[in-house]
Subunit: 411 residues, 2 copies
């Protein structure tokens, strides 16, 4: 007997035919005494349709004052899909019951549209599983202390699934998606990208942070917290995907780097000629932090020793360029900076792998591979298990391939 | 200060523009310190759309085994409309909060798709009203003891509204609809039909039972239980409509009958030649009752004294004809009846009014008015405050007008 949580995204349940297929797929994998929880997102474009309705009331429905009502609105999306999927199981002869975020005991913070999971009380889920039912649970949603529905924001359905798996001490959490696993680089960019059999939470988090889009960091963090293996696999095939877990179980040990990540949605800010004195960097980054803008790479370099002025360079998500510009222009003026330069045609390429800790010369090999292809490096930043380079956006494809070739072609 | 519950049906909230209009309408009527609860149904065709989705899973989604999931599915309809209406109030500067059936404390039985209200705990509603918000509550839905959403079935949104008004001891419950009140006869049939200022619960119940379609009997019963005046009025005008209440407050006392009701959705069954002996009628009507088929008019008459056999004639809703036929064919065979005749081209016309209790000759006037127009009466049945006649369907319009003229033209 296994206790398994399976999560299917919106595209897997976009039509009633697809919903029936999900039910068939789950049943074909199910042993008679397996206990199965299926977590689903809203059907296909439902969320966009609901947002469209809200825009009929106010063109800007994502204002803070509407956040509670947006959650009331958006949580209906999963409620529709769970009801239909539970019906689909019953249609196929499998007893099933749908449960909302509230009913699965998913307690969240009250930050509407961006709730955080506080705790899960899975007693109703356990009771329904024990009675022989497949439980169809709404992803992406929970309930706060006031009893109000709250959505979990980006990556919320995956996070729900992993958290439920953790609360149930499930054997595994399977995330069904439109790709068949985690690759050593984006297969759309690198022809020879390899599917990993396994990757650690730690490395996956770093890959995700650096732009690998398959999994949101949140769900991986929750998996790590509960130590639940997360199996990322394809909705459309039976081939095993990639298992994200605490440590490697198999022959995959011994690699140097695990993958090449990239991120095109990056913008670079340079504040030129600010006084080289204590507190300047703090003023810059505190004001960005106050505006809830995450900063990624940071470099400070001397511009002119005689004048004792420096340049401060950093990157932010492209979404935040407008807001960051407004904040930085204000700060730059106060600091008497020479000017502010924003570059949006940049991209970040990174290598990730716990193996690089014990392998000297990894950085040199990465930079060398880039140099050989004429890719200029603008900023470099490193973490314990990753090295990232900011480069020109138009050279991204070349860069990713060059690095991937360097580390993956000759083993 | 007044505490008012206002209910708007699906057609009043069919689009976001209409939702904004409902919010404007409510605010234009609202005094600064009024407390207002607005109960809404699902937007326009939403419920049909959701049923259409369910039919994508199974062509027969209203099977009992799906009932719980149908409720999970259908309750999203109101959840969408309450969220949008609460946003609309906020857009207009009025603080508002949407509450689901669960959140308004609407506890129901567990009979999915046909829930009955067991109790209401309006503490959350009161708290939100006290904080100065307009409460936008989901009609048609509640929650059972398991925490599962349950819909209230036909007329459920009106019933929700009246029950909330009762639980809150509201001053009045306004039901906004596409007609502007209760008429002495259906204005589509009788040109001179008059709008009533008031009608008692008792009479309204009888009118509804006999086919007057504006209000479902359930909501009137709940209004009577809580003694909450129900004001039935138009969504589109400010004209006062009809107030349903315990007793008349004004000059409207002294009429003989209140209205003429009619019902075209009637079918007549005749079981011919059954033994005239004890227990026969019981067998017939117990078997219909076991099949959950309501019987309306009943007549038993001697067919042949010598053979000691009788005919049993009764009417049912046309929806049930198929099922009733199946049941009755079985019973008739067991009883050795000569045959079963079903007539669908029949209609029922009724007069209703507490005033007829003290007024002799009312029945005679009704029958006379019908006779004068050549309308043959098939069956007659009476209650304390009504008289009904079954006639040919094609004579319905003539009959209703004749009776209305008889009682309403000369005062």
């Amino acid at each position: 007997m296994a206790l398994v949580v399976k999560k299917f995204g919106g595209s897997s349940v976009a039509t009633t035919d697809k919903i029936l297929n999900v039910a068939k797929r789950v049943l074909s994998d199910k042993q008679p005494d397996d206990k199965v929880v299926v977590v689903v997102s809203a059907m296909g474009d439902t969320t966009d349709d609901l947002i469209g309705l809200a825009q009929g009331i106010d063109a800007q429905p994502y204002q803070a004052s509407y956040a509670r009502e947006m959650d009331m609105l958006l949580t209906t999306g999963e409620q529709v899909s769970i009801a239909l999927l539970a019906m689909a199981f019953q249609k196929l002869g499998q007893p099933a019951v749908s449960l909302t975020g509230s009913q699965i005991g998913m307690r969240t913070s009250s930050v509407h549209t961006k709730g955080r999971i506080l705790s899960i009380d899975p007693s109703r889920v356990i009771q329904e599983l024990d009675s022989g039912k497949v439980v169809v649970a709404a992803g992406f949603q929970g309930i706060d202390k006031f009893g109000d529905p709250v959505t979990l924001g980006r990556g919320g359905s995956d996070t729900s699934a992993v958290a439920i798996a953790g609360a149930l001490k499930a054997d595994t959490c399977e995330i069904f998606t439109d790709v068949d696993g985690i690759y050593s680089a984006d297969p759309r960019i690198v022809k020879g990208a390899r599917k990993m059999q396994e990757i650690t939470y730690y490395e996956m988090l770093e890959m995700a942070r650096l732009g690998a889009g398959v999994m949101q960091p949140r769900s991986v963090e929750v998996g790590q917290y509960f130590n639940i293996p997360i199996h990322v696999r394809s909705t459309f095939t039976d081939t095993p995907g990639t298992i994200i877990r605490e440590d490697y179980t198999m022959e995959e040990k011994g690699f140097i780097i695990r993958g090449v990540a990239h991120d095109e949605k990056v913008a670079k800010f340079a504040i030129l000629g600010v006084p080289n004195q204590p507190g300047v960097a703090h003023k810059v980054f505190a004001s960005l932090s106050d505006a809830n803008i995450d900063v990624d790479m940071i470099v400070q370099s001397i511009r002119n020793v005689d004048q004792n002025i420096t340049d401060i360079v950093f990157t932010v998500e492209q979404n935040y360029v407008g807001e960051a510009k407004r904040v930085i222009d204000g700060v730059a003026e106060k600091l008497g900076a020479i000017g502010v330069v924003v570059e949006e045609d940049v991209a970040k390429v990174s290598i990730v792998g716990a193996g690089m800790l014990g392998a000297p010369g990894v950085a040199a090999r990465m930079f060398g591979a880039l140099a050989k292809q004429g890719v200029n490096i603008d900023i470099i930043s490193t973490s314990e298990i990753s090295i990232s380079c900011l480069i020109k956006g138009e050279q991204l494809r070349t860069a990713v391939n060059a690095i991937h070739d360097e580390f993956f072609s000759n083993d």
